[in-house]
């Protein structure tokens, strides 16, 4: 956090003179009230003093309470109720703060968050679903506004600690944990199976969603001077997990979810796997398949379909639930439909042949959300040249089985980041199954704190009490009646031909206007 020294000095001043630290950090009312309470009550007691008695100790207790609250207040700074956007962010970002910094043209910068630019491109934006402004007209474009946030440089590493930490997997979760832990002064070694760091971001996500240049810059930011990266080493094959356990003080497992699920239907060996297709496209292979069917409704399905479309194939997506139930990002799905990808809902494959697929219709069952049943007698055949299956992934944690507790699907069982082994922590998709990048970043940062607390032997709740949130001086902006910004896109005819980015930059003025739509809920609705 940016102004640690300032808060530290305020705490010291407050410990010596009650209320002084608050005045030092320019909260005059708080300082005045605390000083009046403490010194005023002492003065009152001096005026009416009639000697020590039993209740005098109660008075001492009250003074200690005032002093403690005053010191803690100086340490933590003012806080507010968390607004819905901040509550719902899996990565722990406070959108209302950066939006307000844009809107008020503030000089202060938002503290560095790992993969901030990446999250601008690939996040399902749960904050926009929860935005209070939705109740009035439509949500603030929180995700798009990340584009013009001025962010601080990563802080310089000041402290040094002698403990060494190993991180398995250089994906979004592992790298953000490495970044956070290296800031705290630890020596980090990151083991990565692939030749390049970045995990799912570099190997799978197509570049029309995530520009390569920005991604490489962000990954370089993560790899600080005290982070050693060992690429091309697969734990369990090239080195043993036991050796790592012996060598390091703590191990963080962020291996992600890479084992594709099978559908369990006849002829599945004729189909391609979504991950393979994406990886090969990213490596530079061109697929000329003709008519392609994609099974599934997640982000992978949409990515595969849009990538194949850009290589000149004719693509349709088959999903077993309704279109509105698709877990893929809403915007991406609409962009895909605009580009001419047909989405067939309530359909699932029964049998896969070389040149055709037997499909059947499904129906939504009442009662349970998401449950579907097959409609008897509705089988029909679709002639397609290739079928790609993207039906979810689960972690591949067989090499950890002797050391850690895992569940049926291969997910590592954790509690607050701790696994069944005292030295081993886990996070990201290896714990959650296949979730989003935002979840991975958030877990990486959270588990990094847990590891820090564990190595310093501080109980978790005390570590939480002593953690501070970032809060700049914020100006209130009057509410504006304005419509949500229309995010500029490239023309459909152009964008289906290459892999360049689809979303374009908007003018600074438009972005400022959009930021002014924020209601700054925690400030406005303060009593």
């Amino acid at each position: 956090m940016p102004s640690n020294t300032k808060y530290g000095r305020a705490t010291l001043i407050s410990a010596l003179f009650v209320g002084g630290g608050q005045i030092y950090s320019r909260r005059y009312w708080a300082g005045l009230v605390f000083a009046c309470l403490f010194y005023g009550s002492i003065g009152l007691m001096l005026v009416i003093w009639t000697g020590v008695n039993e209740a005098f100790w109660g008075l001492i207790a009250a003074w200690i309470l005032v002093w403690l609250y005053n010191v803690y207040d100086a340490f933590k700074g003012a806080n507010y109720h968390k607004p819905p956007c901040e509550k719902s962010c899996p990565a722990g970002i406070s959108p209302w703060i950066y939006i307000n910094l844009i809107a008020a043209d503030n000089d202060e910068k938002y503290p560095h968050v790992p993969f901030f630019g990446t999250l601008e491109h690939i996040c399902p934006a749960p904050c926009e679903d929860e935005c209070t402004r939705r109740g009035i007209d439509s949500a603030v474009a929180i995700k798009y506004l990340k584009r013009c946030v001025s962010m601080e440089e990563p802080p310089t590493i000041e402290r040094k600690r002698k403990e060494k930490i190993a991180i398995i997997g250089a994906g979004p979760c592992g790298l953000s944990a490495a970044y956070s832990l290296s800031n705290k002064g630890y020596d980090i070694t990151v083991y990565e199976r692939e030749e390049k760091p970045g995990g799912i971001l570099t190997t799978l996500i197509p570049s029309f969603r995530l520009p390569d240049a920005m991604l490489n810059e962000e990954i370089e930011n993560m790899l600080r001077e005290r982070v050693e990266l060992k690429c091309g080493i697969e734990v369990g094959k090239d080195t043993e997990f036991e050796d790592i356990l012996r060598e390091y003080d703590a191990v963080f497992v962020a291996i992600g979810a890479w084992k594709a699920t099978t559908l369990g239907i006849p002829g599945e060996e004729n189909a391609l796997s979504g991950f393979d297709v994406l990886r090969k496209i990213k490596e530079g292979k061109t697929f000329k398949l003709g008519r392609v069917g994609v099974i599934g409704g997640g982000n992978t399905a949409i990515d595969v379909a849009r990538s194949l479309l850009r290589q000149g194939n004719e693509v349709s997506i088959y999903y077993r639930r309704r279109i509105m139930d698709m877990p893929a990002e809403h915007e991406d799905r609409i962009e895909a439909q605009e580009e001419g990808i047909e989405i067939v809902q309530l359909t699932t494959p029964l049998e896969i042949h070389k040149d055709r697929v037997t499909m059947t219709k499904t129906e939504c069952l009442e009662g349970r959300a998401g449950a579907v049943g097959l409609v008897k007698g509705s089988e029909y055949e679709v002639e397609i040249d290739a079928l790609v299956i993207t039906a979810g992934q689960w972690p591949e944690s067989s090499f950890l089985k002797d050391h850690l507790k895992t569940d049926k699907r291969g997910r590592i069982v954790t509690k607050n980041g701790k696994t069944s082994h005292p030295k081993v922590f886990a996070g990201g998709d290896a714990v959650l199954g296949s979730a989003t990048v935002a979840h991975a970043v958030g877990q990486g940062l959270a588990v990094a704190d847990r590891i820090d607390a564990h190595l310093r032997k501080v109980p978790g709740f005390i570590y939480n009490i002593l953690r501070r949130d970032f809060l700049p001086a914020i100006k209130l902006i009057p509410m504006r009646k304005a419509q949500r910004i229309e995010i500029p896109h490239r023309k459909i005819e152009e964008r289906i031909k290459d892999f360049a980015e689809v979303e374009l930059d908007a003018s600074n003025e438009d972005l400022r206007n959009e930021a002014c739509r924020c209601l700054t809920c925690p400030l406005k609705f303060r009593p």
Binding site: A30, A62, R526
Partner: protein, 264 residues
Amino acid sequence: MSLKRIIQTIATVIQNAYIPAIFAGGIYQGFLKRACTPILNCWGCPLALFSCPMGALQHFIGLGLIPFYTVGFFGTVGMLVGRMTCGWICPFGFFQDLLYKIRSFKAELPKPFSYFKYVVLIGVAGVIAYLTAEPWFCKLCPDGSLIAGIPLVLADRTGDLRALVGWHYYMKISILLAIIVLSVAMKRFFCRTFCPVGAIYSIFNRFSLLKLQIDDKRCIRCESCQTKCPMHVPIYRSPSNIDCIRCLDCVKVCPTNAIKHKVR
């Protein structure tokens, strides 16, 4: 300044408007003291014009009499507006509102504390007052120490009151200190946890003539009402919560106008 703040200021002044006390000393003992104000406001305050219903209730309980007048008074006000007087005319509530406005570290009060005020009402202001025949809640009340105890002892000219200062006075001051600090940290800490007047009115919240109504179709569950609420009540879930003080801030703040107040 909002209407609520104006009314709170005016009500605080009216309830404590006996100016001669500043020059002459002593407390007002005239005709108006026979009437109760519908909220907690210490009758020992040199400026107070009306008597405190909680003090009156305990006084009669201590004498072993049934306090028909105060019970009827509580019942009438409660049936009409529920806890509205807490939100609009209570001076001590106003004081706590102002304390919470200070920019500082804030905490949330766990829900079960809301029920502690019934323990205070029945235990301290009921049973103990009956057994000892003394108004024990008044002896601990932070409002009493703030507006009566401190000014009376400081402005004492004869020295009689100063001679009485002992462990009891020390205790009152420490309770007041603790409650002021906790009201800076939490919304209306005293009202939610200790206030017996609020406890009596809160029983009527369910039946009162004036009540709040939620339009479930319009409510988007944004929780702005709870954030704005001076008692931190989840009003969109429980419009007749025991802690709702009918200040009607939620009606103003609701972005979809889902909350309405109505007289049934």
